[in-house]
Amino acid sequence: MMADTPQTTVLIGSDVFDLDPADEAAIVDEMAHYEHPRAACIEALKIVQRRYGWVPDGAIAAVARVLGIGPGEVEGVATFYSLIFRQPVGRHVVLVCDSSACFLTGFQELRQALVAQLGIDYGQTTADGRFTLLPVCCLGACDGAPALMIDGDTYGPVSPGDLPGLLEDYR
């Protein structure tokens, strides 16, 4: 019995963004794991991100609709978590651990080498759209410091000399 009000429709307008049906289904599945659908919010954003590499603006309201919560809340979540990207990123995301153990074992050299090799700094994406470089907090690989993570893979210890071969693999 509860439908959209005419008011909100006029106000918000129709969102151009439509969730992929498979993504929407995956989000609905996720919702079942929790007492409240809202809890699937982070996972929902990850699902969207898996498809687009990032969370496009329109997805915020779309995810909110599926979860039955406000778009303000979804954007609040999306901008809180460091692994949710609200800007386009490259095909591969290089997360460099900059926490203490890595800092003490060669992080600076590793970072410099990455910057030199990719020609980008934190938060930037290479011109060919291949890599985005971001810092990450302790990867829990301190016995293999300095460490970094590319997509789902953790590497360490990594020396600047390892980088060319390592990056080569991520097209």
Partner: protein
């Protein structure tokens, strides 16, 4: 893809490992790791069962006495391994149960993000069923109807292993309805995070689990009164939960005995070391093992470097000096030296490394990871970072050290909303105390004081 490149990529792939060989690890002395294999492979259900797996659950379900589990855990005095050291048994005894109180949640804190810490990862990647077994015991004790493993998003391998293990356990009848014919129902879901250190703080974790921003919650009410979705909830660290099966199976006395006469705290601990040491790594050792012994196991400082300072258990603990290496690494002893045991994984700093730069790195971490809820942490920590950067560049001003001291003091416990900022204050405070002259070297200009009046 050329073969050689693939090999190069594999050669730098990080693998979690324990430094002790199988031969050294025995069921009666290494309850956390004795089942681990030398090849680092996963101990799946079949092997786990072969190695006495789920025996504690079977025993506890048969006895069906949650209060007995709690009192055994209390007697064993298993201090929380997430960094706080709070007795797990005591925590469980405070969870609301009975009457109208709904059954709640049992949450495994697998968010391991404390800089310098890499222990929970090993347990989850190689021995997932021990985590699950510990969770079942805790659920039984706390009358929880559902469990979550809150795993940090970057632990991809652990996620894969845990979800297969959960399937195995479910198929094996260790999870789900009527576990082992006991009429006890309990299941576990794996929840993966999306970054942010603060998610490890137990109440922030609950908010994050509920799909919200990971701001911590005020206590009281404690999670045991009103936790996830307002239901009584228990949050325990992975390693803490992994201690429970041994305790329940072998009793509190046995557990207490594991540490011998090193300390009043019982049990064993996953200790580790990182920084410029010869062989950084992880060992299961009796509680109260000294820093010296662990450094020794790691082969000492790398290339004969000199130790200047060390953090006993992660970025949020206070700096200790070389002379403190002889102390037993337990909750009380380390606490008395103005630091904390924390996670028990040491980070070593060599003589030539700059304390100013390191503290700047630590504070930058804490400032970046602040949730932004309370003022001292949100706006005070970035100030410390700016001052430390200035000092590192030699652009400090007179009064900066006092300013840092005041900022650190203002980020003390109870003054901030959660323990994140006090965690940031501790290394800053102790570094200023022990290495003041290093900071003073960064002061170049006298501060030009504004005219009074």
């Amino acid at each position: 893809m050329s073969h050689s490149i693939a090999r190069q990529r594999d050669s730098v792939r990080y693998r979690s490992r324990l430094m002790q060989p199988e031969a050294e690890r025995r069921p009666d002395t290494h309850p956390l790791t004795w089942r681990l294999r030398d090849d680092g492979g996963v101990v799946w259900l079949e092997e786990y069962l072969r190695k006495d797996g789920y025996q504690s659950v079977r025993k506890a379900l048969a006895e069906s006495d949650p209060q007995a589990i709690i009192s055994t855990m209390k007697d064993a005095n298993v201090g929380g391994r997430g960094g706080g050291g709070f007795s797990a048994g005591l925590k469980w005894s405070l969870t609301l149960q009975g009457g109208d109180i709904p059954r709640g949640y049992l949450i495994c804190n697998a968010d391991e993000m404390e800089p310098g810490t890499f222990k929970d990862r090993l347990l989850m990647e190689q021995q997932p069923h021990l985590v699950i077994e510990g969770m079942i015991l805790a659920a039984l004790a706390n009358n929880s109807f559902y469990g979550y493993i809150f795993l940090r998003g970057e632990y991809v391998t652990a996620a894969r292993v845990l979800s297969r293990a959960l399937d195995e356990a479910r198929a094996g009848g260790w999870l789900g309805r009527d576990i082992d014919g006991s009429s006890f129902d309990f299941d576990i879901a794996l929840h993966t995070g999306a970054g942010r250190y603060i998610c490890g703080e137990e109440t922030a974790l609950i908010n994050s689990l509920e799909g919200k921003r990971a701001n911590p919650r005020a206590k009281p009410p404690f999670p045991g009164q009103s936790g996830a979705w307002g239901k009584p909830s228990v949050v325990n660290n992975v390693e803490t939960l992994c201690n429970a099966p041994g305790v329940i199976l072998n009793g509190a006395e046995w557990y207490q005995g594991l540490s011998g006469d090193r300390t009043d705290d019982g049990g064993s601990k996953l200790y580790g070391i990182s920084g410029l040491v010869e062989n950084p790594g992880l060992w299961e050792l009796p509680m109260g093992t000294t820093g010296a012994e662990i450094l020794d196991r790691a082969g000492g400082m790398r290339n004969g470097r000199q130790l200047k300072a060390w953090l006993p258990g992660g970025a949020s603990t206070g700096f200790l000096l070389p002379q403190h290496l002889e102390l037993a690494l337990d909750f009380d002893t380390v606490g008395k030296e103005g630091s904390r045991l924390g996670t028990g994984l040491m980070t070593m700093v060599t003589q030539e490394q700059s304390m100013v730069a390191l503290v700047r790195n630590l504070e930058e971490f804490f400032a970046r990871e602040s949730c932004g809820w309370c003022t001292p942490c949100r706006d005070g920590l970035p100030w410390t970072v700016r001052v430390l950067r200035a000092l590192a560049l030699g652009q400090g001003e007179i009064g900066d050290i006092e300013l840092l001291e005041k900022l650190a003091a203002d980020c003390g416990p109870a003054q901030t909303f959660c323990a994140h900022a006090p965690g940031a204050a501790m290394p800053l405070q102790t570094a200023l105390r022990h290495f003041r002259s290093e900071f003073a070297q960064g002061i170049s200009e006298p501060r030009i004081k504004a005219e009074e009046g």
